[in-house]
């Protein structure tokens, strides 16, 4: 590619030129690539080696949040948001557990639809933006609540997305939470780097990686594992979604997305990451998501519900919350 060894991606500002040496580098503000960059003077002054001013505010806001969990996947459409929602509902089933869900998918927010609160709006108060409450102990924040209509596309480049993420962390009146679940967009880019950067001081308790059984999805999950390791996030485990399909007519089970390379099981073995469980494809899961109702509550007898609940239980075990 002709690139020099790439600098620590965490230290590259979102509006940096392509060959930015990284703001914490010795060359910051002094390399050839810095000519013309808006940050040149700041970098050269050494101020960039100091922490981001938003960080103390985020840290303060996050000090009342016990657990912060990221839901990641690499590939899109494998069920991150659906899983996040089920996890949220399962936590909130206990009246004493305060749960928050933060939707970082800025260009394609699905959390409001899945939770059945798509028509809600965010209000601001003296203590910041009030999240939308699905129920008394479940607060949600998504860019979906801020758009005039659902048709509107957010065409933002990285820096604007990062700004909003920082605001979601420091300006939202989350209150005291037992769990903050962070749903992410696919990939390993701005949103992912930013959340890691912003929560560095407060600490992320871990990430749950979602995949489907086919190799093209697993390939992306390998990249996500690599990302977690690079930035030092603990991986709680792997969930295989859309794992097998039970025909509602003949009850025969078949594989829609065939695990041609051994599926998540094999990936878990190869990487030493725990496979938390496999959730079969039940068409009612997608339907529940479209109607914004809790699948776990609607269909307690589905094998998928059992699988979800076992996985959630295992996550609590691993976090030491059971």
């Amino acid at each position: 590619m002709g690139d020099a060894p790439s600098p620590d991606p965490k230290s590259i500002p979102s509006n940096a030129p392509e060959h930015c040496p990284g703001t914490e580098s010795e060359l910051a503000g002094k390399s050839d690539a810095c000519a013309g960059c808006d940050n040149k003077d700041v970098c050269a002054s050494g101020a960039t080696k100091l922490p981001d001013p938003a960080l103390p505010l985020i840290k303060e806001r996050m000090s009342s949040v016990k657990r912060k969990i990221l839901i990641l996947s690499g590939k899109g459409g494998v069920g991150k948001s659906t899983f996040t929602a089920q996890l949220g509902w399962a936590f909130a089933a206990d009246d004493d557990t305060q749960t928050g869900i933060m939707d970082l998918d800025i260009c394609g927010p699905s959390i409001p639809t899945i939770l059945g609160i798509a028509s809600e709006q965010v209000h601001s108060s003296a203590s910041g933006w009030s999240p939308v409450y699905v129920q008394d102990n479940m607060a949600v924040m998504s860019v979906g609540f801020m758009l005039p209509t659902a048709k509107d596309a957010i065409m933002w480049r990285g820096p604007k997305k990062n700004g909003l993420i920082s605001q979601f962390l420091k300006d939202v009146d989350w209150g005291a939470l037992d769990y903050l679940l962070v749903d992410t967009p696919p990939g390993t880019s701005d949103e992912h780097l930013s959340i890691v950067q912003y929560l560095k001081e407060s600490g992320i308790d871990g990430a749950v990686l979602i995949t489907t059984p086919q190799e093209v999805a697993l390939q992306d999950v390998r990249r996500e594992i690599d990302f977690c390791r690079k930035v030092g996030i603990r991986i709680i485990g792997l969930v295989e979604n859309m794992s097998g399909f039970v025909c509602p007519s003949c009850k025969g089970e078949s594989q829609i997305f065939r695990p041609t390379t051994g599926g998540a099981k094999r990936l878990a073995e190869e990487t030493g990451i725990e496979l938390l469980g496999a959730v079969p494809l039940d068409p009612r899961i997608g339907m529940s998501a479209d109607y914004g109702v809790s699948f776990l509550d609607e269909y307690p007898d589905s094998p998928a519900t059992t699988a979800y609940l076992d996985i959630i239980d295992r996550i609590k075990d691993i976090l030491g919350d059971n």
């Binding site: 991606p9 967009p185 829609i256 068409p283």
Partner: protein, 291 residues
């Protein structure tokens, strides 16, 4: 500024049509549709030259789908040489960030500016040569990659068009609408809409289950006055073919199978999706002719 000659317009001067595959939502089948679109355009005439540019920088899947993920790109005096999926015939050129990674599992953790630079290089530094069609596979969303593409392709705007892929679920349709708003905002003509993963045929009893609901795509096309290009059901054969071409639980990587120059195309042609896609491509070609 639009009509200035740039490195990109020079490089793409012999590319007749550029088709962006967009979806808004992830995992609805953009890459598999891009791959199928390219394969079908390739098949549409014995001399058709097709290129695929994979702009999904942090999750490139096309190299795997075309069974060339072990290949690499070469530097020549005239720029990067793309990988030819059909071997010596050299009618199907592919470029992806996947070819530039040392290990398949390496993550590409880039913010916008770096992605923007890569996209510019893909358009200006790759030896695309003469192409009848350049299919561009995009990542989910409407963000850096999409804006960068539109910016760098401004000089060839007249040859640009888009296909939108969705699944029938409400959450996917919502994102497809956002995507349509994007195309309108940047004045990108939409060739039509494809509804993917529409129903699944149970292999035991033949019962069709609407795994991700059904009909939403056609409905959206009607409301928004878009051409509806067709529906594609969930096809497990296709998943296997694009996953590495091995029948159930093959396990390991590409076994040696070098009997034909382009075995993937043969395997693909036998899937039921291939038959349905022939109709979709007919539609695409019709609209492209009208343009």
């Amino acid at each position: 500024m639009a009509l200035q000659e740039t490195a990109v317009t020079r490089r793409l001067q012999n590319v007749k049509n550029i088709v962006l595959v967009l979806a808004g939502k992830g995992g609805v089948g953009k890459s598999s549709v891009s791959t199928q679109l390219a394969l079908n355009l390739y098949n549409s005439s014995p001399s058709a030259k097709v290129g695929i540019l994979d702009v999904d920088l942090t999750g490139p899947s096309i190299p795997r789908m075309l069974g060339v993920d072990d290949k690499g790109v070469h530097q020549s005096s005239d720029g990067w040489v793309p990988v030819y999926a059909d071997g010596p015939s050299a009618r199907l050129a592919l470029m992806s960030v996947g070819f530039l990674l040392k290990n398949k599992g390496d993550s590409v953790v880039w913010r916008g500016p770096k992605k923007n630079g890569m996209i510019r290089q893909f358009l200006s530094d790759v030896r695309w040569g003469e192409l009848d069609y350049l299919v561009i596979d995009t990542p989910p969303g409407t963000s850096d990659e999409h804006l960068s593409l539109m910016e760098h392709l401004a000089g060839v705007h007249g040859r640009l068009s888009a296909v939108i892929v969705t699944t029938p679920q409400a959450v996917a349709l919502m994102d497809a609408m956002k995507c349509l708003s994007f195309t309108r905002a940047v004045n990108l003509p939409v060739l039509g809409l494809i509804e993917n993963m529409s129903g699944y045929v149970c292999p035991c009893c033949g019962e069709i289950s609407n795994v991700f609901s059904t009909g939403g795509g056609a409905e959206m096309a009607r409301k928004e006055e878009l051409r509806f290009l067709g529906t594609l059901p969930v096809d497990t054969e296709l998943v296997s073919v694009l996953d590495g071409g091995h029948e159930p639980s093959g396990g390991t990587e590409q076994a040696e199978e070098k009997n034909a120059a382009f075995p993937l195309l043969d395997r693909y042609s036998k899937t039921s999706s291939a038959r349905l896609f022939t109709e979709i491509v007919k539609g695409v070609l019709e609209v492209l002719e009208e343009k």
